[in-house]
């Protein structure tokens, strides 16, 4: 491999890591919901894309700056998260994991179809910020819009970590995820914590959806299934319930994905990501930050 190829490989790795923040955010969402409810919400990525679509409604009404569109996406994500909890989880008995799995699949299809129905399935353009800024660092270039996406993602994670580890709400959330019965005995309302978790993860998802739209430049309902798979992969590689794990795994998957694409082409790219996941499942089923397996 000569010098130029090496430069290109490193460049695609860097671009991938920057885009990987979106995967990290989706992974955090899956992980948080799993942590609190021990349930999978398969409709999460579709809801994120749905929130990004909803934010485009603002542009239809008035000529809003892209920053406002991002904020609206976050708000819409929160609302959708609450609705998802209400119709997909609230009235289904907790002891039956299959039923909620199925109801979230139903919601995934429903959200996808609502998007297709309102947009006639045509991909829509999404506004990006700083897309004209290009930073040159030696032989490498850093795209402004990807940098912006990366910064938003990092801010989002920082806020989320503070929320979880420095506020009363965060303590309640972690208490419910560790031991729901004991948390209830301490006067924490499990229902409220569940709703709030869904709203918070929804906000994170909305931001992730907007970031994906901004990074790719458009939105399409075809994005939701691949993103669901990627989000789940990130969740598992990072370790279930581990937020730092989800962040690292998101960046890792984003970077490796681009490197595989550079060397093997776009059609084989995801194949290697799946193999990577399988390697993790076999050799390190607890994820990156799992405690060393031992006798307990």
């Amino acid at each position: 491999m000569d010098y130029l190829d090496f430069i290109d490989a490193v460049q695609s790795l860097a671009d991938g890591v920057l885009f990987g923040t979106t995967y990290a955010l989706l992974g955090i969402g899956f992980t948080l919901i799993f942590g609190v409810m021990h349930k999978i919400n398969l409709s999460y990525a579709a809801a994120s894309i749905g929130a990004a679509y909803a934010s485009l409604l603002v542009l239809a009404v008035m000529k809003a700056p892209p920053a406002l569109v991002f904020l609206v996406a976050a708000a819409a994500g929160g609302v959708i998260g609450g609705v998802v909890y209400l119709i997909g989880f609230r009235f289904i008995p907790l002891a039956n994991p299959l039923a909620t799995l199925m109801s979230t699949v139903g919601l995934l299809l429903l959200i996808d179809e609502i998007i297709v129905h309102t947009t006639q399935g045509v991909p829509l353009n999404y506004p990006a910020l700083f897309s004209d800024v290009i930073i040159r660092a030696g032989p490498f270039t850093l795209r402004g819009d990807l940098m912006f996406v990366f910064l938003i993602g990092c801010t989002c994670m920082a806020v989320l970590l503070t929320l979880l580890y420095r506020t009363r709400l965060g303590i309640a959330t972690r208490a419910v995820s560790q031991q729901p019965t004991a948390a209830q005995l301490c006067g924490i309302s499990v229902d409220n914590v569940n709703v709030l978790t869904f709203v918070i993860t929804g906000v994170v998802g909305g931001i992730a959806g907007a970031m994906i739209g901004a990074a790719i430049g458009m939105l399409s309902p075809l994005l939701s299934l691949p993103l669901t798979v990627k989000g789940l992969v990130v969740t598992v590689i990072g370790g279930l319930g581990s937020i730092p794990g989800a962040i690292i795994a998101g960046l890792l998957v984003g970077g490796l994905e681009n490197v595989f694409q550079f060397f093997r082409g776009v059609s084989e790219r995801d194949l290697y990501i799946m193999l990577l996941l399988f390697v993790f499942l076999v050799f390190r089923p607890g994820g990156i930050f799992a405690a060393a397996p031992g006798r307990d």
């Binding site: 109801s103 299809l109 179809e113 609502i114 297709v116 996941l277 499942l281």
Partner: protein
């Protein structure tokens, strides 16, 4: 008429797909890999009849064996994890199979045409049925013969010791383990049986559609596969059949007059069904009620006969 026969064919093939997931679900595992085994069966059976010129029945058998062997091989590493991890592992396997066929190119020249799987374009001209002069009705009957055989075998298994073992593992792994059941063996054999059934279903699918491509075997098909048994309930094999008829016959074909709105209703109705009947459309309670009803009717008949 052919339309309805075609619908009955679709229902038959999807019933096989649902039954393959049913088998795995009995042991309490959610496997989204069934679409992958289905794809393996479809491609293997298609290649055997088109490229090697085999008759359909041995091709289906080999497809079943290959898919079953694959399921067994995947079962060992995948079943070390459970719950969400298993869902993701099996999704990953299914996607890996799909992407493999997306990149799979193996064409041979047959009668002036290049036949065989051709990457993203898929695998065309699987024309075993038309070439051998099978009518739609005959194909339909053949598919349903297979479905009936599989359902009978599963019914018998459900009522034997093996079925009790499967359900014991599904209800409570710890209790099953303490009563001396080898959990890994049970799970892997359930996975293998599921793989065999999915392989047969895939082989039939390839031959009645005559054209298969990778997009057909994605995550959506995998979720459909588990949706049938979950929606229908795990109390017996007929739940799956009824769920397939409900989804394919009513939700997909029956609501066609609603145009665009049908797809919206589809997801919504699944959510509603899960809210109203979380243990499936036909759960243990329904079965018990039907049994009581039948027994009461029989009882009355006997009384009358006695009087």
């Amino acid at each position: 008429m052919d339309f309805y026969l075609g619908l009955v064919q679709i229902i038959g093939v999807h019933t096989l797909l649902g039954l393959s997931a049913y088998c795995v679900l009995l042991t309490g595992q959610v496997s989204l890999a069934q679409a992958g085994f289905f794809a393996i069966g479809a491609y293997v059976a298609g290649m055997l009849t088109v490229l090697a010129g085999w008759p359909i029945v041995p091709a289906l058998l080999v497809a079943a064996i290959v898919a079953g062997a694959m399921a067994c091989a995947v079962g060992f590493p995948a079943l070390r994890v459970k719950g969400l991890m298993l869902v993701v592992a099996t999704v990953a396997f299914g996607e890996a199979v799909r992407l493999f066929f997306f990149n799979f190119n193996y064409q041979l020249e047959r009668g002036g045409f290049h036949l065989g799987p051709h990457g993203g374009e898929g695998f065309r001209q699987i024309r075993y049925f038309p070439e051998h002069g099978w009518s739609t009705l005959e194909v339909m009957l053949f598919i349903w013969l297979v479905v009936v055989l599989v359902m009978a075998a599963l019914w018998w298994m459900d009522h034997s010791r093996a079925g009790a073992t499967f359900r014991a593992v599904g209800e409570d792994e710890l209790a099953a383990q303490s009563s001396g059941i080898n959990i890994t063996a049970v799970k892997v054999s359930a996975m293998t049986i599921g793989g065999v059934i999915a392989g047969v279903g895939g082989g039939l699918f390839a031959h009645y559609t005559t054209h298969i491509e990778h997009v057909q075997f994605g995550v959506v098909l995998a979720t459909f596969a588990v949706a049938y048994p979950i929606l229908g309930g795990l109390s017996n094999v007929f739940g799956t059949l009824i769920a397939v008829i409900f989804i394919q016959g009513f939700l997909i074909e029956g609501l066609r007059f609603m145009g665009d709105w049908r797809n919206l209703l589809f997801g919504g109705l699944i959510v509603l069904a899960m809210n109203v009947r979380p243990r499936g459309l036909i759960d243990a309670g329904t079965v018990a009620a039907i049994r009581r009803f039948v027994l009461r009717c029989l009882g009355k008949g006997k009384e009358r006969a006695g009087a």
